[in-house]
Amino acid sequence: MKKILKNEGVQAFVASIICILLGLLIGYIVLLFINPSGAGESIVNVIKNFFTWSRPQSQMKQLGNTLAKTMPLILCSLSILFSYKVGLFNIGCAGQYVAGACASLYAGLAWGWGWLPCMIFAIVAGALLGGITGLLKAYCNVNEVISGIMLNWIALYTSNTLLTNVKETASPYTLYLDKTNPGAILPTLGLDKLFNNNSNVTIAVPLTIVAAVVIWIILSKTKLGYELKATGNNRNAAKYAGMTQNRNIIMTIAISGALAGLGASLLYQTGYMRWECTQSSVPAMGFNGIAAAFLGGLHPLGAIFSSFFIQHITDGGQYVNTNFYSSQISDVISSVIIYLCSFVLFIKLTMKKMLAKSDEKKGAK
C-alpha cells in the first residue's frame, strides 16, 4: 500500500481526486444555500449527465455529444500543458481556439474547401496567433499572460467581423456548414453508428488520441522535448548549454496554438456548433483547458480523462432543476477545481511527509 502511495503518478492521481471531491462538495453547498430542497437531486444530475436519460439509445446519443465536445477540450488542455512544461502559461489558448474556429468556418463556408484543407487552415491560424505571443515574449519580453489575453479579445472581434460575411441574414449565427458545404464536414469513419447514429462523433476522436500520444512522446522521448523543458526550467542554463531559447519559446507557443486551432476545427467542422457573430465573450473552451490540464496532473494521457470529466460535468449542468438553479453551477465547480489544483504541490508534500513519518516510526520500533 505504502509502496503504491510513494509513486509520483499515484500521488498526482490522489491529489486530483481530492480536488474533484472538494469541488463537487463546494458546488453542492452552493446549491444548498440557494435552495435546500432540490440540491441533492441536482448535484447528482450534474454528475450523471447523460445517464439522466432513461433509454440506453438516448444515453449513447448524449454521450456522443459530450465526446464531440471533449475532443477540443483535450486539445486545449494539451495546448496549455505543453507550454506550461516549457515554463509558459498560454492563456491565449482561448484566442487561438477562436482563430481556429474562424479559419475553418470561413474556409468551409466562403471558399468551399474540403475538410482536410479547412482543418489545416485552422491549425495554421492557431499557430500564427500563438506565434505572435511567442515573438512578443522572445524579443520584447512581454508577459505571455497579458499579451495572450489581449490577443483573445482581438481574435474574438476579428472573428465576429469576418464571420459576419458568412452568416444567416435573419440570425446572428453562421450558415449551417452541413447544408452549405457538406464536403467540409469531418468524416465519421462509421463511429456514428456506435452512438445511435450521432454524426457529431467523427474522425476527431482517433485524431485527438493520436495528438495526445504524439505530445507525450515529444515531451518525454525526444531531443526537442528535452530542450524545450530545459528552457522552461532555467532559461539561462539552457542558453549556456547551446540551446536557442528564443526559437524554443516561439516554437512552443506556436505548437500550443496549433493544438488549440485543431481543437476548434474538430468541433466546428462536425456541424454541431455554429458561430454567433455578436458574441461578446471569448468561448470558455480555452479556459476550461486550463482546468483539464492541471487536473490531469499536467500529463498528456491524464488530460484525456480529466477533459472528459470536466466536459461531463459542464454538460451535466443543463440537467439541474432550472426552477431554482442555473447551469453555470458546473462552471463554479470547475473553477473551484482549478483553484484547488494550485494546492496540489502542498497536498503532495503533505503526503510525502506523512509517509516519511510513518517510515520513521517503523524504524524506531
Binding site: 452552493v30 440557494i34 435552495n35 502559461f89 492563456i91 512578443l136 520584447c140 519580453n141 512581454v142 508577459n143 499572460v145 497579458i146 499579451s147 489575453i149 489581449m150 490577443l151 483573445n152 479579445w153 482581438i154 472581434y157 476579428t158 465576429n160 467581423t161 461578446s280 465573450s281 479556459f287 486550463i290 482546468a291 492541471f294 432550472t322 426552477n323 431554482f324 438553479y325 442555473s326 453555470q328 453551477i329 462552471d331 463554479v332 470547475s334 473553477s335 473551484v336 482549478i338 483553484y339 489544483c341 494550485s342 494546492f343 504541490l345 502542498f346
Partner: protein, 312 residues
C-alpha cells in the same frame, strides 16, 4: 468632445484604481492576476447595496456602495492571499482560477436571487438606474462621477504610502528581497497580506466604477471584458510608479472611450470602419505599447516567487 472627455476620464478612473491595486500587490511580491475576478466581485457587492438601499441621501448611497465594493474585493482577494502567501501556490494559476470563479459564481448568485424574487426571471442582471444618478453630478452637460475624485485621491494616497511612509518602504522591500527584509525584522507574511488586501479593495472599487461607467443595468454573465488585464498592462506601462500609472491610464482610457463615442466624430464616422475595430482598439494599443516598454522592465525583483524563509 465633451462626451469623449467624460468617457475618457471615467474609464481612466477604472484603470487607474485597478492598476494601483496591482501595483501595490506586486510591490509586496505577489502577482495579482485575479484582479479581473476581484473587479467582478466588487461590482457585485456594490450593485447589491445599490439595489437594496431604498431611499437614502446621495452621500450615504455613494459611501456605502463604495465601502461594500471595497470590502467585497478585499474578502475575495483572501483567496489569493491564502494560496500564494501561505501555500506557495503558482500565482498565475490562482489568479486565473479566481477570474473564472468570480464570473461563474456571480452569475449563479444573481440568477438565483432574481429567480427567488420572480420565478420567471432567469436573467443575471441587476438594475440600478436611481442609484447611478446619485454618483453623478451634472455640470453643463458634463457628467462628473464621484469615482473620478476617488481615483485622484487614490493616486495621492498610494504615492505617499509607497514613498513617504515606513510601511510602504517595508512593503516594497518584501517585493525586492524578502529574505533581506526578514533579516531586519520585517514580517514578510504581514507585508504581503497588506499588499494583497489593499489591491483587493482598490480592485473592488474599480469594478463598481466600471459598471457605473456607461450603463444602469449590469449583466453579470459578461464579467468585466478583460479590464483587469488592461489595468495590469497600464501598470507595466507605468513602470510600477503611481504617477506614471495615472498618465498611462488616461491614454488607455481615451482609446476605450473612442469605441463608445466614435459615431459622434464626423471624420471617424466617415471612415466607415466596422464598430469592432474600435472595440479592438484598446487591446491593440496595449500590445503595441507593451512591445516597446517591456524590454527595460522595472518589475519588483521577487514578484511571483513564493517566500521561502530558508532560501538565500
Amino acid at each position: 468632445m465633451l462626451l469623449l472627455t467624460q468617457y475618457t476620464l471615467i474609464f481612466a478612473s477604472v484603470l487607474l484604481l485597478v492598476a494601483l491595486g496591482g501595483c501595490i500587490s506586486e510591490h509586496s511580491g505577489v502577482i495579482n492576476l485575479g484582479l479581473e475576478g476581484i473587479m467582478v466581485v466588487g461590482a457585485l457587492g456594490g450593485a447589491l447595496v445599490m439595489r437594496s438601499l431604498g431611499t437614502t441621501s446621495a452621500l450615504v448611497m455613494v459611501l456605502v456602495a463604495m465601502l461594500a465594493a471595497a470590502l467585497a474585493g478585499m474578502l475575495y482577494s483572501c483567496l489569493l492571499g491564502v494560496a500564494a502567501i501561505h501555500f506557495k501556490a503558482d500565482q498565475t494559476l490562482v489568479g486565473t482560477a479566481m477570474n473564472l470563479l468570480a464570473t461563474a459564481a456571480a452569475t449563479v448568485f444573481v440568477k438565483a436571487m432574481n429567480t427567488a424574487a420572480n420565478p420567471d426571471n432567469h436573467s443575471s442582471e441587476i438594475e440600478y438606474i436611481r442609484a447611478r444618478k446619485m454618483f453623478i453630478v451634472n455640470i453643463n452637460g458634463f457628467e462628473f462621477n464621484w469615482f473620478m475624485l476617488v481615483a485622484i485621491i487614490a493616486v495621492v494616497l498610494v504615492y505617499f504610502l509607497l514613498y513617504k511612509n515606513r510601511l510602504g518602504l517595508r512593503l516594497m522591500a518584501c517585493g525586492e528581497h524578502p529574505q533581506a527584509a526578514a533579516s531586519v525584522g520585517v514580517s514578510v507574511y504581514k507585508m504581503r497580506w497588506t499588499g494583497v488586501l489593499i489591491s483587493g479593495a482598490l480592485g473592488g472599487l474599480g469594478g463598481l466604477c466600471y459598471i457605473l461607467a456607461g450603463v444602469s443595468v449590469w449583466k453579470f454573465e459578461n464579467g468585466v471584458a478583460g479590464f483587469g488585464f488592461l489595468a495590469l498592462a497600464v501598470m507595466i506601462f507605468g513602470q510600477w510608479k503611481p504617477t506614471r500609472i495615472a498618465i498611462a491610464a488616461l491614454i488607455f482610457g481615451l482609446f476605450r472611450a473612442l469605441s463608445n463615442t466614435y459615431t459622434g466624430f464626423p471624420f471617424l464616422a466617415n471612415l466607415n470602419l466596422p464598430g469592432n475595430v474600435y472595440n479592438m482598439m484598446p487591446y491593440i494599443v496595449c500590445l503595441i505599447v507593451l512591445a516597446f516598454t517591456s524590454k527595460a522592465s522595472h518589475a519588483p525583483k521577487a514578484e511571483g516567487i513564493p517566500y521561502d524563509k530558508g532560501s538565500r
